[in-house]
């Protein structure tokens, strides 16, 4: 029993410290629990997508509830593992599976632009040409721009996690 409670306690502590509960939400702040995501957050918050999307709208599938959370859990655990092992690259590139999710989400909102009936009539295979290539092949600046190294936004003001030590536990400087 004692062993179990120690294990439970330390597990809860780890969950709290890593803000694990925030990953259930859609709040973009959850994505910068790892500070290496600051460039992505900063560039999104300076883009036109800021007002209409959060990270999950583009980066996890939105076709059904289970798929969304399955993908989120899978991707999130991979990120957490790489971050814990300090294995992150200096420049983060999207994986094929992630790119596919983003592409489908571009289409989800911008469908009308892609299947314009006028162009469907006028241009051969318009629909195929517009939906089967990845949007990001051409729209490479949307919305993060093309400069994305870990050190690309040294002074950006993003809401990174703060020092977790509560105020009452901090020694006063003048002691």
């Amino acid at each position: 029993m004692a062993a179990l409670s120690v294990f439970l306690g330390i597990s809860l502590f780890t969950l709290w410290l890593s803000k694990a509960h925030s990953y259930i939400s859609d709040d973009p702040k959850a994505c910068i629990n790892c500070h290496i995501m600051a460039p992505q957050y900063a560039t999104w918050s300076h883009s036109s997508h800021r007002e209409v999307t959060h990270c999950n709208d583009c980066h996890v599938p939105q076709n059904n509830f289970f798929n969304k959370y399955y993908f989120k859990a899978k991707d999130g655990l991979r990120h957490a593992t790489i971050f814990t092992l300090r294995n992150e690259p200096q420049v983060i590139f999207i994986k094929d599976e992630g790119a596919e999710a983003v592409h489908n989400n571009c289409i989800r909102c911008h469908y009308d632009q892609l299947v314009d009936p006028k162009l469907n009539v006028m241009v051969d295979n318009h629909r195929e040409k517009m939906t089967e290539r990845k949007c990001l092949e051409c729209h490479r600046e949307v919305p993060h721009g093309r400069v994305n190294s870990l050190s690309s936004v040294p002074n950006a003001k993003v809401p990174l996690p703060e020092n977790p030590v509560p105020e009452w536990l901090k020694m006063k400087k003048n002691n």
Binding site: A3, V6, F7, I10, S11, F13, T14, L17, S18, I32, N33, C34, H35, A38, P39, A42, T43, S45, H46, S47, S48, R50, E51, F83, T84, G145, V147, S149, S151, S152, V153, P154, N155, A156, K157, P159, L160, P161, E162, N163, P164
Partner: protein, 503 residues
């Protein structure tokens, strides 16, 4: 019975467990070791999470003096020294607005704006330009000169420093010239940023006080709001209130009723405030300063969540880094990083859209301007012919309200783009009001025996207009020249000695 049976069963189970372990004592040790290892590993994970989370607190915080390698934001601030950009009506160069539009001299007769009114240059020139403008006069010593220290409020990060030393009311009580040696650095980092964390902060009390009177707490403002509110410390309509503290020209934003011309006008009317009495018409006038934030707040960009910094200080890339461009400037000089973040149209087409709005708004503003000049002259004539106070009261009130609306639209920077509908509406109501006043004036003049049009004077240039209202420009210029030659170098010398002693 049932209870006893349960207890017996439990004892039996425990007995089996204990017996199971009693027979194999090594199993207990394995369980013990396993728990030790698992908790140890969990502890390691917790330590790793702690470490990586603490990195967020220290990441990108320089631990040594990084000078002279200043961050790009700081370097880009010096872009505000650039005066090369000229748009159709504005830009970063200094423009003498009285030369562009001599009718303004008549509208401001009796007030210092008729002496000198220029479109200012970038933040870099804030202190230089306020020293050079004729409105601050040519003080001969620290107690001389026409303006209070309140005129320094928006010019320099030295202002919060002095406010800390002498108190807010103390600052507003001093003369402009007495703080000359203190206020020497142009608008800079500390005006908008906390010097330790570089977080955005409100350094000027007038904005916080205005929020308080509106029942809002500015410390609760989010990051995106702050990217406009730091600008709203200065780019707003304001007046000097003499009732708040003894002898002080206390800086106040007239926002208690709201941001529109009518709501601010009601605020001023209620307290019977006047900036000056017009030299020709004797009307009790209001001078609009620059209600930039207020007009922007009525526009569609504000509604869509776009802040001042989004367009005037957009993100730029340089050498593998992205940062906020601290060269605050007209987005027309940087369409690709500002407008085109959201709007996919051609640069020329976007600029054309802005100019179209400016042209259309200016068309009616000019119309209102000419009517106002005529109204002032007609009122002057009515006084000459012996009109009484009671006959003139409503007419003068009309002139006051109409010119306030004209000024609200003329003084705001970028108002015809920030909110063309609100600006157009304000001018339209100004035209109606001034026309009403002129109809009354025509009747009154006819009653007084004058049934002709007033001769419109030749005010085709700034000089002619200033001569017409009787300004002695030679003397004003001479005073300023002497001040710049004798007093300003002393201020700079004193400031340099002080700042050297801090190093």
């Amino acid at each position: 019975m049932v209870k006893n049976e349960k207890e017996q069963l439990n004892q039996l189970k425990m007995g089996i467990n204990l017996k199971f372990i009693e027979k194999r004592p090594w199993l207990a040790w394995i369980l013990f070791a396993f728990t030790v290892i698992v908790v140890f590993m969990m502890g390691l994970l917790a330590a790793s999470v702690t470490e990586r989370r603490m990195e967020a607190v220290f990441v990108n915080v320089p631990k040594t003096d990084i000078r002279p390698f200043e961050p790009r934001e700081f370097q880009s601030y010096y872009g505000t020294a650039d005066t090369s950009f000229r748009s159709k009506y504005n830009g970063s160069a200094m423009i003498d607005m009285l030369e562009e539009d001599p009718e303004m001299v008549i509208l401001w007769a009796g007030y210092s704006f008729s002496k000198d009114y220029k479109q200012g240059r970038g933040h870099y020139y804030a202190v230089t330009d306020v020293r050079n403008i004729l409105r601050t006069g040519g003080p001969k010593n620290s107690n001389d000169g026409p303006q209070p220290a309140t005129c320094w409020t928006c010019k320099s990060p030295d202002v919060p420093r002095i406010m800390n030393e002498v108190g807010v009311a103390g600052f507003y009580t001093a003369t402009w010239a007495s703080l000359g040696p203190e206020i020497v650095n142009p608008i800079g980092c500390a005006d908008c940023h906390d010097e330790k964390t570089m977080n955005l902060r409100i350094s000027r009390p007038a904005l916080s006080e205005a929020f308080e009177r509106r029942g809002q707490d500015i410390t609760k403002a989010g990051y995106q709001e702050m990217r406009s509110l730091v600008c709203a410390q200065c780019h707003v309509e304001y007046y000097f209130n003499k009732q708040i503290a003894e002898g002080a020209d206390y800086l106040v934003f007239p926002w208690d009723n709201g941001f529109t011309a009518e709501e601010m006008e009601a605020y001023y009317d209620n307290m019977e405030f006047t900036d000056w009495t017009h030299a020709l018409s004797k009307a009790p006038m209001l001078k609009a300063q620059h209600p930039d934030y207020e007009v922007y707040m009525t526009g569609v960009h504000a509604k869509r969540g776009v802040s001042c910094a989004d367009c005037h200080m957009p993100y730029i890339s340089e050498g593998g880094q992205k940062f906020t461009d601290h060269k605050m400037q007209s987005p027309l000089n940087n369409v690709s990083n500002s407008c085109q973040v959201c709007h996919r149209e051609e640069t020329a087409s976007l600029i054309e859209d802005v100019y179209l709005r400016q042209d259309r708004i200016l068309e009616n503003r000019k119309e209102l301007e000419t009517h106002l000049v005529k109204a002032h002259l007609e009122a002057q004539k009515a006084w000459e012919l012996g009109a009484s106070e009671s006959q003139m009261e409503n007419i003068l009130k009309g002139i006051r309200h109409a010119q306030w609306r004209w000024d609200y639209a003329a003084a705001t920077h970028g108002g015809s783009f920030h909110s063309p509908v609100e600006t157009g509406r304000t001018i339209a109501s100004g035209i109606t009001i001034v026309q009403e006043a002129r109809i009354k004036l025509a009747r009154l003049l006819a009653d007084l025996g004058h049934n002709q049009e007033i001769v419109y004077p030749d005010i085709s240039t700034k000089e002619k207009a200033q001569e017409f209202i009787g300004l002695d420009m030679e003397q004003l210029n001479a005073e300023k020249e002497e001040f710049l030659k004798n007093i300003v170098p002393e201020w700079d010398k004193e400031a340099e000695a002080r700042e050297t002693s801090w190093r």
